[in-house]
């Protein structure tokens, strides 16, 4: 019974992936055939040729990697001041605003400033725009780190003779490691999943996997769309597989003033 429920659960979550796989290998899959009429790998072999999907994947990877690294390290370093801020509630509100706000609206607001700064239409600009979201997320996440217990650890290390630097390196970082890994994964995914900011800040000139997927959908090519969708699923699934994700992403729940 338990086992059956578990299998059903797995099936429910994996079925969509199977469907994407099916479409990516289909030649034609007309109604009402439950399976494709004929199989072929041309969506996959053609990926390299059309639309430069490989380049788009690399670009997504590069942007997301940069966003994750910068947002996480910056968030880690600055989160303590956020916890200790006098205007804690207002700051909490500000940090959550980018998430509560639709990314489209955020992008519409940012587009002009980015254009003026010469950042629109470049990978750097896209990464910076996503970085605002990712950084806010990192600060929120790391605020959960600065609880009484962490401080007690740091105090303990200090009275044992650790300089602030030593305390960070030898105590804080090891303690925070799961959180840092989680933050890296989550900020990576924030960028990896993003479509609206790439669309608006990238002005269509920065082709990432999400915008490529949408282009395939616009061009009515479900096979290529399914294939790029599968590529899009790859890194997060790998991240799950290596169990980097010990905790689900929470927003306000992490805040611990």
């Amino acid at each position: 019974m338990r086992r059956a429920a578990g299998i059903a659960l797995w099936a429910a979550f994996l079925a969509p992936v199977a469907l994407l796989l099916g479409w990516s290998f289909a030649w034609r899959w007309p109604w009402p055939a439950p399976l494709p009429e004929r199989w072929q790998a041309s969506a996959w072999t053609g990926l390299a040729a059309t639309g430069g999907l490989g380049a788009a994947a690399l670009r997504s990877l590069g942007i997301a990697g940069a966003v994750a690294l910068v947002a996480t390290s910056l968030g880690f370093v600055t989160s303590r001041s956020a916890v200790e801020a006098r205007s804690g509630v207002a700051l909490r509100w500000l940090l959550h605003l980018p998430f509560a706000l639709s990314p489209v609206v955020l992008g519409v607001g940012l587009e002009y400033s980015f254009l003026r700064a010469g950042l629109a239409g470049h990978m750097v600009g896209v990464a910076l725009a996503q970085g605002i979201l990712a950084y806010a997320y990192a600060v929120i996440l790391f605020c959960g780190l600065w609880n009484a217990r962490t401080r007690a650890y740091l105090d303990g290390a200090a009275t044992l003779g650790a300089t602030p630097r030593q305390a960070w390196i030898r105590v804080l970082l090891p303690i925070a490691r799961p959180l840092v890994v989680l933050c890296l994964v989550q900020t990576f995914l924030i960028s990896w999943f993003d479509y609206a900011l790439v669309l608006l800040i990238g002005e269509g000139r920065v082709a990432t996997l999400t915008t490529s997927l949408y282009q395939f959908l616009l061009a009515g090519d479900l096979r290529l769309a399914a294939a790029s969708g599968l590529i899009l699923l790859l890194p997060p699934v790998i991240a799950l597989a290596v169990r980097a994700q010990r905790r689900p992403p929470t927003f306000a729940g992490e805040w611990d003033l």
């Binding site: 059309t50 639309g51 002009y112 254009l115 003026r116 002005e203 269509g204 000139r205 061009a219």
Partner: protein, 420 residues
């Protein structure tokens, strides 16, 4: 129309009232300066064509274009781009953007004083051309300087006029197409060919017809306007509000009469032609439409459409128009853009484009003016088998009404039909 107001200066008085808000806006953004149309290319254009070709070497040209058709993408990426790189040492970069997005993007660029522009060539027509002219975003006139422009069929009103506007050298014709209805001859052996019989068919087959809300769907509505017009001349010349309103109401009344029997009871419409194509391919509806009259063959060849798919025209008239290439006024690669456009209207490029297996887009060249070798090639070009020939379709061709009509129809359709 809105765009006509674009260039007017603001009243001074209002500025004074706005001081508080202006401090916020201007101090942080410096956004209040209005643009002055700048049309001199930088770097300056060489005087001779040879000089232009030389200046174009080694440059990368960015083309903003609709990327919604895999055939078009493949043609540009696999046929044109390698050839250009080989012969002219020019690289192409494609940016997906449709007409209204192009206008929006160039407008934002001008507002943000970006120079040079992020775009060089824009693929446009009709209201987009009109609006880009209004905001002085296009470079020109330039077509007279292109050597291959001498082959263009300038006498053809479907080519020399874009939505009733003279193109005046500010955009170069690239291709010509006619709106085509597509159905599956196995499912619909004798398709209806005018609004009345179409409506009757829709009532007999509820849920099997719809049209999309993008450019193609609006062109279908414009074709219907021709069907309801006493004579085609009513939709030509400058925008006439009274005539427009009468024809608009006739079309909207037609839609209302068939709406309950449209796909999903007319509660929603496909967002794009691709979505409509998918519905057709899946057998959810029995009709789709294309603004590339050679597209059916291509779609059948790639397996997207069933082999029994057939194109046909409403006998009451279908819109024929041309699509054009413009050069962005703030582009830093005007010379290279001109070379690219010249290549795109070369007999070779136009001939390849004609092939339904490649794209199936009509040529803008006057075949009679071409050298004999090319004349023969055009004459022997692959014929399509899933749609009537171009000559057969020509009888039902109707020119695009004015750009203002398109803008008004788009707005009114959204307001009076979609949002109800």
């Amino acid at each position: 129309m809105a765009a006509a107001r674009l260039i007017r200066r603001p009243p001074r008085r209002a500025r004074g009232v706005a001081i508080a808000a202006a401090i916020l806006a201007c101090a942080t953004l410096g956004a209040c300066t209005r643009t002055r149309p700048v049309n001199a290319p930088s770097p300056p254009l060489p005087a001779s064509w040879a000089g232009i070709v030389a200046a174009a070497r080694g440059q990368t040209v960015t083309i903003a274009m609709w990327r919604g058709d895999p055939a078009v993408n493949a043609y540009l990426q696999r046929v044109i781009a390698p050839a250009l790189q080989r012969s002219r040492d020019i690289r192409l970069r494609f940016v997906p953007a449709q007409g209204e997005q192009i206008v929006s993007a160039l407008m934002t660029e001008i507002e943000a004083h970006r120079r040079p522009s992020g775009y060089d060539i824009v693929w446009i027509n009709g209201e987009t051309f009109y609006q880009l002219r209004e905001i002085h975003a296009l470079f020109g006139p330039f077509t007279a300087r292109l050597p291959n422009a001498r082959f263009i069929d300038w006498r053809n009103p479907y080519i020399s006029r874009d939505f009733q506007q003279p193109i005046a050298g500010y955009e170069c014709p690239w291709g010509n197409a006619q709106l085509l209805m597509i159905t599956d001859s196995r499912r619909v052996p004798r398709p209806p060919t005018d609004p009345a019989s179409l409506a009757a068919w829709i009532h007999r087959h509820p849920g099997r017809f719809t049209f999309d809300t993008s450019f193609t769907g609006l062109s279908f509505l414009k074709s219907l306007m021709y069907a309801f017009a006493a004579n085609p001349a009513q939709l030509q010349g400058p925008f006439d509000e009274a005539r427009y309103l009468r024809l608009r109401d006739a079309v909207f009344a037609w839609i209302r009469s068939v709406r309950p029997d449209l796909w999903r009871h007319g509660a929603t419409f496909p967002r794009s032609t691709a979505q409509l194509d998918q519905l057709f391919a899946d057998g959810e509806v029995d009709f789709t439409m294309s603004f590339t009259d050679g597209e059916v063959d291509h779609r059948v060849a790639t397996g997207a459409f069933p082999p029994t798919a057939e194109g046909f025209s409403l006998r009451s008239g279908m819109i024929q128009n041309s699509h054009y290439l413009g050069i962005v006024a703030r582009s830093a690669h005007v010379a290279a853009a001109m070379v690219v456009i010249n290549e795109l209207i070369s007999p070779w490029a136009q001939w390849r484009k004609l092939d339904p297996a490649v794209w199936g887009d009509g040529t803008v060249l006057d075949v009679g003016r071409l050298p004999p070798r090319w004349r023969a090639r055009f004459a022997a070009a692959a014929r399509r088998t899933h749609a009537p020939s171009r000559a057969a379709l020509q009888a039902f061709a109707r020119p695009e009404p004015s750009a203002s009509l398109m803008i008004a129809l788009s707005r009114d359709f959204r307001r009076d039909v979609l949002e109800h």
